[in-house]
């Protein structure tokens, strides 16, 4: 824990209002996006609710709203709000320009409104991938472009803020939370160039009728240039929370800050050249390019393994700090009564399985068995739908009370919510993975399809998707109810603090496990690599020395945090 005195900028209220505004919009998006989710869950069980309760013009209109509202709007708005808050608290100084920050918010909000109107008017039933030559109303494309432009302005503000902090803190390591927030937005800004080019040069002129032809494969490739890294844009803020806030909530501290920084850097570099793994079955792209992208995807897997180790070791430390001994009984003393903890840890658990099924997707030809089947739906509900969503929900369980000064309306309800979402997700996603292996396609109104195969309909098949999905839907309602009642009805004052631990320096991972590892150093390989601190220094120095020669000068920005250190 930091020994420096905590002094926060005087005008904290301004960033509180900004973060609050982003979170309100994010929660409205989440609500809108999940009205159709129960329709879809029941559709997968063979029950057609679209005719009985016709709010939607088609299954696919609902599916577009669900996809765009959840993964493009809820996540993006939440991330912009949460990481702005994190930057301010980690650097202990206000954002460089509140005027820019609010202009950014309004640009993004206008974009959101345009997008949502186009979808609700059934003028943009193109799903969240909007592959041409299927056409949407220009407002849909322009709206999403404005949201993306907004995220670039968030980065601009972060960089200006960071530079000011650096000017007054020469030689100090960048606090990990600020480092992670910067990496998240730098990675995303580079990655979003693909979809920005697709929008500005292909889709918008074409949807306005200015050009008549469009290359569907080019559009798809540009989309996926952004479309895979975007999952790391959702994931990295969750990782920021796991690395820099969860340890304090759990009652310990981060096991290794060095490994955390290295994982962030690997995420930054290798998140980018992986998009073709969504296009393994596309004609017109050579097998060699696909294999190269498979290779890079596995490097990102390495970063995820580092994260898993680091977070698990952190939790183990926290359990031991509460007096646990032995191999596994550090798990019980963890704060299982704390919704902000439970929600995030359950999200992490599901992420392990989401990661494993993602490896099948990334595995070049293994993907032939699962591409565009329900397996994929199961996969991304475990990752963005569980790991990211449960983490963001867990964050709001402390952040909303902190911002409003009102205690969470019901801690017990929040615990029920987190666990029920977890159980629903397990039932839902496990079943979808199996149905995918049996050849059930994704994105298809199964309740009206003629090709439904008997093995999909068995008791442990389609009905379980409906049951699991409905549990998640109800859990989502409990979540919103709790947050709304916290803001409107809670009378208890909140007793929460921002769970940001002060950083203990760049090479901070010097917590000891007290003798458990005795003897490892006797292995020759470890003795050779032995040394750890020097090894890491060397690795980082190598990365640092190679990067200035690369074409991606923007990446260098991210290494600013190191430059006074190494």
């Amino acid at each position: 824990m930091s020994s420096q005195p905590t002094h926060y900028p005087a005008d904290l209220d301004s960033v509180h209002r900004l973060t609050g505004a982003y979170i309100i919009v994010a929660l409205i998006s989440l609500t809108l996006a999940n009205v159709p989710s129960v329709y879809q869950a029941l559709d997968s069980a063979g029950i057609n609710l679209y005719a009985a309760l016709p709010i939607f013009r088609s299954y696919y209109q609902g599916l577009t709203l669900h996809g765009v509202g959840n993964v493009l709007l809820w996540t993006t708005f939440f991330i912009c709000g949460f990481l702005s808050f994190t930057m301010v608290y980690a650097l202990r100084r206000p954002l460089a320009s509140m005027r820019l920050a609010w202009a950014t918010f309004w640009i993004m909000l206008v974009g959101l409104v345009l997008t949502v109107i186009a979808i609700l008017a059934n003028q943009a039933t193109v799903l969240y991938t909007f592959y041409p030559p299927m056409r949407a109303h220009p407002a849909f494309y322009i709206g999403l472009t404005l949201v993306v432009v907004g995220t670039w302005l968030v980065l601009l503000n972060f960089v200006m803020t960071y530079r000011r902090w650096r000017a007054s803190h020469p030689g100090e390591p960048t606090p990990l939370a600020a480092f992670g927030s910067l990496i998240t937005f730098v990675m995303w800004t580079i990655a979003s160039a693909g979809v920005a080019i697709e929008m500005v040069f292909l889709l918008i002129p074409w949807s306005l009728g200015l050009v008549s032809a469009i290359d569907p494969l080019l559009a798809r490739s540009l989309f996926w240039f952004t479309g895979h890294p975007i999952v790391y844009f959702w994931l990295l803020p969750a990782v920021v929370s796991w690395y820099t806030m969860l340890p304090k909530i759990a009652g310990g501290r981060l096991f290794s800050e060095t490994v955390a920084r290295i994982a962030f850097i690997i995420f930054l570099i290798y998140s980018l050249p992986v998009g073709l793994h969504h296009q393994y079955t596309d004609p017109g792209i050579s097998e060699w390019w696909k294999l190269v992208h498979a290779f890079f995807t596995f490097i990102v897997f390495f970063a995820s393994l580092l994260t898993m180790f680091n977070v698990a070791a952190t939790l183990e430390n926290a359990g031991r700090a509460r007096g646990a001994r032995g191999w596994l009984n550090w798990i019980l003393p963890l704060p299982w009564h704390e919704p902000a903890f439970v929600s995030q840890v359950l999200g992490m658990l599901l992420f392990i399985f989401g990661g494993i099924s993602g490896l099948a997707n990334a595995s070049y030809n293994v993907n032939l068995v699962v591409h565009n089947t329900r397996w994929i739906v199961g996969h991304f509900h475990l990752t963005v739908g569980a790991a990211v969503t449960l983490t963001f929900m867990g964050i709001t369980y402390w952040l909303v009370p902190y911002l409003t000064g009102r205690a969470l309306w019901s801690r017990r309800l929040a615990l029920v919510q987190a666990w029920s979402f977890f159980v629903g997700e397990v039932i839902f996603s496990e079943t979808l993975h199996r149905l995918g292996l049996l050849g059930m396609p994704r994105r298809s109104q199964i309740s009206a399809a003629e090709y439904v195969m008997p093995e999909w309909q068995s008791f442990i098949g389609m009905p379980l998707v409906g049951i699991g999905g409905t549990i998640m839907f109800v859990s989502g309602i409990l979540y919103l109810l709790n947050i709304v009642l916290t803001v409107t009805a809670s009378r208890q004052p909140a007793r929460v603090e921002v769970p940001l631990a002060g950083t203990a320096g760049f090479f901070a991972g010097d917590l000891s496990f007290g003798g458990v590892g005795a003897g490892i150093e006797s292995f020759p390989l470890f003795a050779f690599l032995g040394f750890s601190q020097e090894g890491w220094r060397l690795l980082i120095r190598l990365i640092w020395e190679f990067l200035p020669d690369s074409e991606l000068h923007v990446i260098i920005l991210c290494y600013l945090p190191f430059h006074n250190r190494i």
């Binding site: 696919y60 599916l63 039933t125 592959y131 030559p133 299927m134 569907p216 494969l217 096991f255 393994y280 079955t281 596309d282 004609p283 017109g284 097998e287 294999l291 498979a294 290779f295 596995f298 897997f301 390495f302 393994l305 580092l306 180790f309 070791a313 490896l359 070049y364 030809n365 293994v366 993907n367 032939l368 591409h371 565009n372 089947t373 050849g439 396609p441 994704r442 994105r443 298809s444 109104q445 009206a448 399809a449 003629e450 090709y451 195969m453 991972g509 917590l511 000891s512 496990f513 590892g517 005795a518 490892i520 390989l525 470890f526 032995g530 040394f531 750890s532 601190q533 090894g535 890491w536």
Partner: protein, 167 residues
């Protein structure tokens, strides 16, 4: 800890290394397995197989004559045109023990083609020719369906391949 003394500062790095080495070994092993399957066992992905003008399909071979053509002993070419919301042809009969080269393209928007129980999984993109090869050794009915959203009738787009036992 071999000797008593002040706590050794480098100890957590042993854990880091103990974890990092398998973290490198696991993905590497998986990649090697993938490469062996692809280039040793010949489980290929669709690659570059030419282009075609989607407005001229009726004048461009082989798409002027969609359906099954025998091109050798036990060797057929199945030419498929996907359009909203049907496959052409919708049903074909093939003797078992045949090797079938699937050649597909789209007339309008992006479609897909999935034959559960086989390795056929194709994106069918207008302007591009998609190819896959499959051996039908077991008699039976194989369904295929469009697996990329192509409009409100997407779920109605499917067909079947009937593999008949050799007489």
């Amino acid at each position: 800890m071999a000797e008593a003394g002040p706590p050794e500062r480098h100890e957590p790095y042993l854990y880091e290394l103990a974890w990092i080495l398998p973290s490198i070994a696991i993905p590497t092993t998986m990649l090697v397995a993938v490469v062996i399957a692809a280039f040793g066992m010949g489980i290929h992905l669709p690659g570059v197989a030419g282009t075609v003008d989607p407005t001229e399909l009726s004048q461009t071979p082989p798409f002027d004559n969609p359906g099954l053509t025998q091109i050798g002993p036990n060797h057929y070419q199945l030419t498929i045109i996907a359009s909203a919301w049907q496959f052409q042809p919708k049903e074909v009969r093939i003797p078992s023990g045949s090797q079938v080269d699937i050649v597909a393209t789209s007339r309008d928007v992006i479609h897909g083609m999935l034959i559960p129980g086989t390795n056929v999984n194709l994106m069918v993109i207008p302007g591009r020719i998609a190819r896959a090869t499959v051996n039908f050794d077991q008699p039976g009915t194989y369904q295929f369906m469009c697996h990329e959203y192509c409009g409100v009738g997407h779920h109605l787009m499917w067909g079947r391949i009937i593999v008949e036992g050799t007489p």
